[in-house]
Amino acid sequence: MKRAPTHSYPGLNLGRRHASADKASEVVTFGFWVFLMSDLVYFGLMFAIYITMIDAQAGGPGPHELFDLKSIFAQTLILLTSSLTVGLAMLALKYNLPRWRIVFWFFVTLVLGLSFLVLEIRDFMAMADKGGVPQRSGFLSAFYGLVPLHGLHVTAGCIWLIVLGIQLRIFGLTDLLMSRVVRLALFWHFLDLIWIGIITIVYFGGLTYG
């Protein structure tokens, strides 16, 4: 049976009699949006620094020598797919599917996130082999200030997936955990958004103007 759309966050299924739980989840989710805004400023500044330092190569290797677009393409596919799988976890929550479905999609997302990180670290190692280390130039400092910062966020997201998966196993679908699933999904989509910025500005922009 379909539930009446009385919730602020319909994906949560907190139930019609849970007005206070509904309000609590609205407060927390809004707070998380505000946090993401603040985090976005961090990335915005790192993008700005990268753009101003794109020419500060100081005779060191530049984008053309260092960037491997095939690997970037693979990473993009993996990350976008992980956004889909985290969305499927949300749908499982919304349609009251069994709890293991949510945990399963979390697991798939985790595998994709980790594969992304492996490819990214391989890229960094390949760059280092060609002399592309952050100590070499301002341009490379800006690159290593921005792209690994995104990687660090993906790592944090992976830890979150593991912890929340365990908590779902232990406590079941409590109000609090359902709202955490929503926030984790928001965070994961945010990582995707930043990655789109990175391929556009860091990689394509770097290859065009660097």
């Binding site: 609205e26 407060v27 927390v28 809004f30 707070g31 505000v34 946090f35 805004m37 603040s38 985090d39 400023v41 961090y42 500044l45 790192m46 620094i49 101003t52 330092m53 500060a56 190569q57 100081a58 060191g60 952050p134 100590q135 070499r136 130039s137 301002g138 341009f139 490379l140 400092s141 800006a142 290593y144 200030g145 830890i159 912890v163 908590q167 232990i170 406590f171 409590t174 609090l176």
Partner: protein
């Protein structure tokens, strides 16, 4: 990489302790440094000793350190701010004394003087003004909007923990090693590894990063609290003016703290990992630092001064017994200032090589801020006009502010002109200007708020006589210390100079040091006032909770408020809802029914993270890598373990709420209302008889 640390304790060794310097080379400079270190150590011993002697560890832990009650967190913030204020003022006095010591080198070494102005600035901005502002906000915001707590009580506790541990790093730097000599702005490349390989800039970086995280979390918390937790009927245009200023401050924090974090972390990457963001070689560009620092730094001054404007708005309205004049225009002015504050950062470095056109654009944007600020000043004056004015302590601070702040604001407009700025930048004129806005603007506002809301927090009024002494000393002390600096600044005396030669500066320097001593006396008078007030508290009790015949919701509940704030969540129908209710004669209604109330449970996570982040910063400063790694894992584990906690709230049964509330209502009905002529008399028990012209 900075100086290499390979041993078990990184680069920490006996040379890091100032006593070593004193033994090797006894002179005035070393004596001053050792005295400062000794004050810190003696202070810690006295605090620990008296807590043990009076057996207060248990109550301190149960009632304060683990409490997630916004009111207690607010009070702890303010205690911390006042301790740090004492250090900041003492440093100011030592600096004034050094410059007053006459033409020549004074009694301090250049390095030591540079440490003093760096810590003075860092402390006063990050560890006095910010915690004081948000301490008051913590205490007040839920009470003013009719809520039972902030949106994220535990995160609030963590913010406090991080702010305090970062402040403690500045205390530690007095005893172990030295602080940065790069000013509170810490411009590279001077603070980079090439010119400054020591621990000083590292202390600055980590204190800034950690307190910055704490402040960002606070900003998020208060933005969400005001957006989402207002009582029913409390529409935006019914919010007290103070809440508006805190929304604006919170928005400024959310957007302006990240640039500071980014700048400091990039400086850390340069220093620790040999990156080239701001170095002189290999493509580094220090202008990126200057831009990011001030992209934070300018909104920062408004996030401090706007809440002070909010406090003055409440104070002027209450002590004039009038509705705040021009509420709508004040809201618009506050928002305009918040937005404009992001458009002017470049005026902090007009002389650093932009084109004349860019300087002109930023100069004009800067001057525009004078318009909304002017609107505010006129609104406040119009609030006073034909009011039933009482010259209470907060009001006196407010009047002192009105006159002095206009001078500070006007000198700001002068500096906003790039051509003038070229002449006076980096002189004491600038120092005079920003002290002229920060003391009368921020500090007087905070002290006014402290005097105004103290009875709400503790249930008794502060001593009026010592309050007045304090206002007089702060005002005179401020004028003698800083107004002469305008003149020496125009005469060309550079800021931050430990030594000078031109004898014509001397008289001004003497006046300034006398002023600094008066400011020291002002600080002491604040402490005396507190001591006298606690001694005589029985004569100043205001249990009913409304000693000033005020307008806003926080005065409609007992003083001190119960842990759940409101027994019954109020339904707001008016802007000055409590004043309107008093006028209608139903300010203290008896509710028909009571409900169970959930309040946050005590938790030790804020305190744990405070200690852990302190160790973490210390390990990073001294390059003790194993410890830094260990503590990082500990912090993550603590946080993750906390997320497994299912119970975060405890319930206060309706019956208990009813008992407490009815006892208080009995007290209200049995108290004699006092009029405004007896506001400061012992018979003022906190029940007001509204008199003279109605507020609405």
């Amino acid at each position: 990489m900075t100086t290499n640390g390979s041993g078990f304790f990184g680069r920490l060794n006996w040379d890091a302790f100032p006593i070593t310097g004193l033994i090797q080379n006894p002179n005035t400079n070393e004596i001053v440094a050792n005295t400062a270190a000794a004050i810190v150590i003696v202070g810690v011993i006295v605090v620990v000793g008296s807590l043990t002697w009076f057996r207060l560890w248990g109550p301190l832990w149960r009632d304060w350190l683990t409490s997630a009650d916004h009111k207690k967190i607010g009070i702890m913030y303010i205690v911390f701010a006042i301790v740090m204020l004492a250090r900041g003022v003492l440093e100011g006095v030592v600096m004034r004394a050094q410059q007053a010591a006459g033409p020549g080198d004074g009694f301090l070494e250049a390095e030591h003087f540079a440490e003093l102005f760096s810590t003075h600035g860092t402390i006063m901005i990050f560890f006095v003004a910010v915690p004081f502002v948000f301490g008051l906000a913590n205490f007040l915001i839920p009470l003013m909007i009719g809520a039972r707590d902030v949106a994220f009580p535990v995160m609030n506790q963590i913010s406090l923990g991080l702010t305090v541990s970062a402040g403690m790093m500045l205390m530690v730097s007095l005893v172990v090693g030295e602080f940065s000599t790069g000013g509170w702005t810490a411009y590279p490349p001077y603070t980079g590894a090439a010119f400054n390989p020591g621990v000083g800039p590292d202390y600055w970086i980590w204190a800034i990063v950690v307190s910055g995280v704490g402040t960002t979390l606070t900003g998020i918390n208060f933005a969400v609290t005001i957006y989402k937790l207002r009582a029913p009927g409390m529409k935006f245009m019914r919010l007290p003016m103070y809440c508006w200023t805190i929304i604006c401050s919170s928005i400024l924090i959310v957007f302006a703290m990240p640039p500071l974090g980014v700048a400091a972390l990039m400086l850390a990457a340069d220093r620790y990992l040999d990156f080239h963001f701001f170095t002189n070689d290999l493509g580094g560009n220090m202008m990126n630092y200057a831009n990011m620092f001030w992209l934070f730094g300018h909104p920062e001054v408004y996030l401090l001064v706007l809440p002070a404007y909010g406090i003055y708005s409440e104070v002027f309205a209450t002590f004039s017994a009038k509705r705040l004049y021009g509420y709508n225009s004040l809201v618009i002015a506050t928002m305009s200032i918040a937005v404009l504050s992001f458009t002017v950062w470049l005026h902090h470095f007009f002389t650093m090589g932009q084109s004349a056109l860019i300087n002109a654009v930023f100069g004009i944007a800067t001057m525009l801020i004078a318009i909304p600020t002017g609107v505010k000043v006129y609104d406040w004056m119009a609030t006073l006009f034909r009011g039933r004015i009482r010259f209470s302590v907060p009001m006196l601070y407010g009047l002192s502010f009105l006159m002095l702040f206009v001078i500070g604001g006007l000198s700001g407009v002068i500096l906003a002109n790039p051509t003038v700025d070229y002449q006076v930048h980096n002189t004491l004129f600038l120092v005079a200007h920003f002290h002229n806005v920060l003391l009368p603007g921020v500090l007087f506002g905070l002290l006014a708020g402290y005097n105004y809301w103290f009875p709400k927090a503790f249930g008794f009024r502060l001593n009026e006589f010592w309050g007045r002494v304090s206002v007089a000393l702060w005002t005179v002390g401020f004028m003698l210390t800083f107004l002469p600096l305008y003149f020496v600044g125009l005469m060309g005396m550079p800021r931050r100079s430990f030594s000078w030669e031109d004898p014509s500066f001397h008289p001004y320097m003497i006046v300034a040091v006398v002023g600094a001593l008066i400011i020291l006396a002002a600080l002491l008078s604040v402490i005396v006032q507190l001591w006298v007030s606690i001694r005589d508290r029985e004569k100043a009790r205001v249990p009913v909770g409304d000693p000033w015949d005020a307008h806003t919701l926080e005065w409609s509940i007992p003083a001190p408020p119960p842990s759940y704030n409101f027994a019954i969540i109020p339904h707001v129908t008016d802007r000055d809802d409590f004043a309107a209710a008093k006028e209608r004669g139903n300010a203290y209604p008896s509710p028909d029914a009571y409900e169970d109330i959930s309040v946050p449970l005590n938790t030790g996570i804020g305190f744990s993270l405070c200690v852990l982040s302190g160790v973490w910063m210390f390990a990073l400063v001294w390059l003790i890598w194993w410890l830094a790694a260990l503590v990082t894992i500990f912090m993550l584990a603590t946080f993750i373990a906390w997320t497994f906690k299912a119970e975060t709230e405890r319930v206060i049964p309706a019956e208990e709420v009813r008992k407490q509330h009815e006892a208080w209502l009995d007290l209200v009905h049995n108290s004699t209302p006092v009029d405004r002529d007896h506001e400061t008399a012992p018979e003022n028990r906190g029940l007001a008889r509204p008199d003279l012209e109605a507020v609405t």
